[in-house]
């Protein structure tokens, strides 16, 4: 199935892109996607363990199962204000 992945701040610098459409296996969890991404782009691991993730613009945990059309983002440490 297809998801849309967004990259921000350091993660955009590492990936070289703002966003991408991506195929993931049915039943994939957020943590599975993170493992896949860091396999391709070890530079994402600079922030340490899995960063906070958002699915469809809401914070969610690593065990959330992804669905077709989800908008997914892993969020580097936020620094607003």
């Amino acid at each position: 199935m297809r998801i849309r992945l967004l990259y921000f701040a350091t993660f955009r610098d590492v990936s070289g892109r703002d966003s991408e459409e991506r195929q993931v296996a049915g039943g994939s969890k957020v943590s599975d996607l993170w493992r896949e991404l860091t396999g391709e782009m070890p530079g994402l691991l600079r922030t340490g363990s899995m960063p906070p993730a958002a699915v469809n613009r809401e914070y969610t945990g690593p065990d959330t199962v992804l669905a077709e059309g989800d908008e997914v983002a892993f969020l580097p440490p936020v620094a607003g204000g």
């Binding site: 701040a9 610098d13 958002a54 580097p76 440490p77 936020v78 620094a79 607003g80 204000g81």
Partner: protein, 140 residues
């Protein structure tokens, strides 16, 4: 609604007091000329816009539940900011001063903790880096 790429005029935000309000506490986060001992020339603020709007909305709703008499305004700027520019503005109007301080402080602390906004410090020599507050002291 909460995010803007236009300059924030701190002064104009203060005018919205209700006649029942006795205390107004505000906090303005301003771009300063240094960070962790290095000079700063300007700061680029980037956001995950729709999620940042939603997260600030949840924070404002939470504050309204905790301090029902207190009215809280939030504005956060994104884009390229110069030294002295207001990056974030919070204004909390309340019948009483303790509540205005508490709600204002909670607002900025929660915004900094959870709203997906990032900043890239640009130094006078043209180099830059993303700020990682988790590697710094909590008061910064």
């Amino acid at each position: 609604m909460y995010l803007t790429d236009a300059p924030i005029d701190a002064a104009s935000l203060l005018a919205a007091a209700r006649t029942s309000d006795g205390g107004v506490c505000s906090f303005f986060g301003v771009v300063r000329d240094h960070h962790l001992g290095r000079a700063t020339k300007r700061i680029a603020y980037e956001s995950y816009g729709p999620m940042a709007e939603a997260e600030i909305g949840k924070i404002v709703e939470g504050l309204a539940r905790e301090w029902p008499d207190t009215q809280v305004l939030v504005r956060h700027r994104v884009g390229m900011l110069e030294i002295g520019d207001v990056a974030v503005a919070i204004v909390a109007w309340s019948p009483h001063r303790a509540e205005s301080f508490a709600a204002c402080r909670a607002a900025i602390d929660r915004i900094k903790a959870t709203v997906p906004i990032w900043k890239r410090e640009i130094h006078p020599d043209g180099t830059s880096e993303w700020v990682n507050p988790t590697s710094e002291s909590p008061s910064r």
